[in-house]
């Protein structure tokens, strides 16, 4: 049975890009693969394309399901589909796995043609700017000169910002959701604890664990558990788990007792089975480095001077990882540049993860905004 308003069965596509990518770090990737999915139809004037950028653990699988895998629902399926907020009857929506990821685009687990072995630790650090550059190559491949919109939540929202700064002519709208113009010290601190958990795992082998036929599972699991705590809010955890015990009584030991422990361990285990630790390290670094104001002596308004896109900026009240204040920094920079911008603060209990949840007001806002976009 097909879920209502779903784009239905989807199939990933691959593109091999031969044009060398000059990375921000100075390293060069001579060629690479990108895996992507598309939903809806590109119109004859190619003016209805929407690029969706993924966050830390996301992928190109944004909407729909894979054949014979009913549980493989795309990460933003509640937002994207026929008659949904981002309506695939009108828009041609593209999801792409970022470079350095582990879902099919070239990343640390891919085979380095020069050595015939996985890149591992030798895979270069990639930044948000590098991702945008690679995504631009995909746009060229698809013949899209200008996106109707580029959008995403969290790290995905950062990519939408970077698009507006680097390619002002190539997008008309940017949807920046639960994002920030840079990480705070606290955010970087969380990321570093996550990285240390992975790097200090004995099975990490300096990032070359593939050669040893093992995985830094425990480290990645811890990293995810920590991350997960920061994506939720105190309130949402209290509502969902409170102090509930699995067996109803204390067992006076260190095994799983509280429901929240059980939940986090489950989430950690699940993630450690699916995600590549090196990719996780890379993604957190991309987050840490993102700071478009840095090149302008910290003046974010100056950084936005080149932007031409119209912006929808959304934040969530309970998001303490990327708080509404960080979104207001972005709005302020846009106001200073007399850009078209609308900003809404969505009341939500679900913390940073709110951007992935169904919320009436949030989804209505995106729908209303998208409806106004001409194609």
């Amino acid at each position: 049975m097909q879920a209502q308003n779903s784009v239905g069965i989807v199939t990933p596509q691959y593109v091999h890009i031969d044009k060398p990518l000059h990375l921000k770090s100075g390293a060069i990737l001579n060629s690479y693969n990108l895996v992507y999915e598309t939903y809806g139809k590109l119109n004859p004037t190619k003016s209805n394309a929407v690029l969706i950028c993924h966050a830390l653990s996301g992928s190109h699988h944004v909407a729909g399901v894979y054949t014979d895998q009913p549980k493989s629902i795309g990460w933003w399926d509640n937002m994207i589909g026929p008659d949904k907020s981002i309506d695939t009857n009108r828009f041609f929506v593209i999801g792409v796995n970022n470079l350095g990821g582990c879902h099919g685009s070239t990343g640390p687990a891919s085979i380095d043609a020069r050595t015939g072995r996985p890149y591992g630790a030798s895979f270069p650090i990639v930044t948000v700017e590098d991702w945008v550059e690679a995504q631009a190559q995909l746009a060229d491949h698809l013949g899209i000169d200008q996106f109707a919109a580029v959008g995403g939540g969290s790290l995905g929202g950062m990519q939408a910002i970077q698009w507006a700064l680097d390619y002002p002519e190539r997008l008309r709208h940017a949807l920046v959701i639960a994002a920030a113009s840079k990480l705070t010290a606290q955010n970087i601190a969380f990321n570093d604890v996550a990285r240390q958990a992975i790097i200090s795992d004995q099975e990490f082998y300096g990032g070359d664990y593939y050669s040893y036929d093992t995985l830094p599972r425990r480290g990645l699991r811890l990293a995810r558990m920590l991350g997960h705590i920061t994506y939720l809010s105190d309130d949402s955890m209290a509502i969902k788990f409170g102090r509930d015990l699995r067996s109803g009584a204390f067992s006076f030991g260190y095994d799983v007792e509280f429901e929240i422990e059980s939940y986090l361990r489950y989430q950690g285990d699940k993630f450690a089975d699916q995600f590549d630790a090196n990719s996780y390290l890379l993604m957190t670094k991309a987050l840490d480095y993102f700071d478009p104001a840095n090149a302008y002596n910290g003046d974010l308004s100056a950084a936005f001077r080149t932007a031409k896109a119209n912006f929808l900026v959304l934040s969530f009240t309970s998001d303490w990882r990327f708080s509404p204040e960080r979104s207001r920094d972005i709005v302020k920079a846009l106001l200073d540049n007399e850009a078209n911008v609308s900003y809404a603060e969505v009341t939500s209990k679900h913390g940073h993860d709110s951007f992935l949840m169904v919320d009436r007001y949030y989804h209505q806002l995106v729908r209303a905004y998208m409806d106004k976009i001409e194609t």
């Binding site: 302020k332 106001l335 806002l365 905004y369």
Partner: protein, 203 residues
């Protein structure tokens, strides 16, 4: 600030009066902009570039549907997102009377805008006075709420508002007083239902 429903039956003359003061192509900030109808109107009539500020979710959504820029924010917390002198006009249309920090918002309007435009229901209108004399708080088209459910906590008369302008260092440039769609020149504080002021910082 509490969310207020702006009376819609008088909106057209209200909008037209404000539009008459706005230079074409001006940069406008509309505080407590509701669903963005006024900004939409000014955009269509005067080709303005503008933003609205609004706290209520439904109104913010209305603005997005109307295709106007809106910033969801509480006016009571000031206008710190906006730079000094960054707008040609800052409008406060039928919102003043519902604000807690009345003096502060007028000061912020003077800081952010080259000119301010304020409209409010005139509490000195004779029907309001008559209802008070008869022993009741007024309920009318402009003041549709009862005393216990009204968001209008700072109602004033023409004279009262002019005193506030003086206190805040605002120089009144123009005043229009209306009753329905008619402009009132004779005994405005008695016959006028709705007052409009355009002002700037005292030089």
């Amino acid at each position: 600030m509490t969310h207020i429903t702006k009376p819609s039956n008088i909106s057209r003359p209200d909008f037209a009066a404000i539009a008459a003061w706005i230079n074409p192509g001006a940069k406008v900030l509309d505080l407590g902009c509701g669903d963005g109808s006024l900004l939409r109107y000014l955009n269509d009539k005067c080709g303005i570039f503008g933003y609205g500020v609004e706290i209520d979710d439904n109104n913010v959504l209305g603005c997005v549907r109307n295709g106007v820029n809106v910033i969801q924010n509480d006016l009571e917390s000031g206008l710190s997102t906006f730079e000094s002198d960054s707008f040609d006009y800052v409008i406060l249309s039928q919102t003043l009377q519902a604000m807690r920090h009345t003096e502060e918002i007028v000061n912020e309007m003077l800081r952010v805008g080259k000119q301010g435009i304020v409209s409010f229901p005139n509490f000195g209108y004779w029907k309001n006075r008559a209802q008070v004399i008869s022993g009741h708080m007024p309920v009318s088209e402009e003041l549709p709420y009862r005393w216990f459910d009204t968001p209008n906590i700072h109602l004033c008369t023409l004279g009262d508002f002019e005193e506030l302008c003086n206190l805040c260092g605002a120089q009144i440039l123009e005043r229009i007083v209306m009753n329905g769609d008619r402009q009132i020149a004779f005994l405005p504080n008695l016959i006028g239902m709705l007052a409009f002021y355009r002002f700037e910082r005292q030089k």
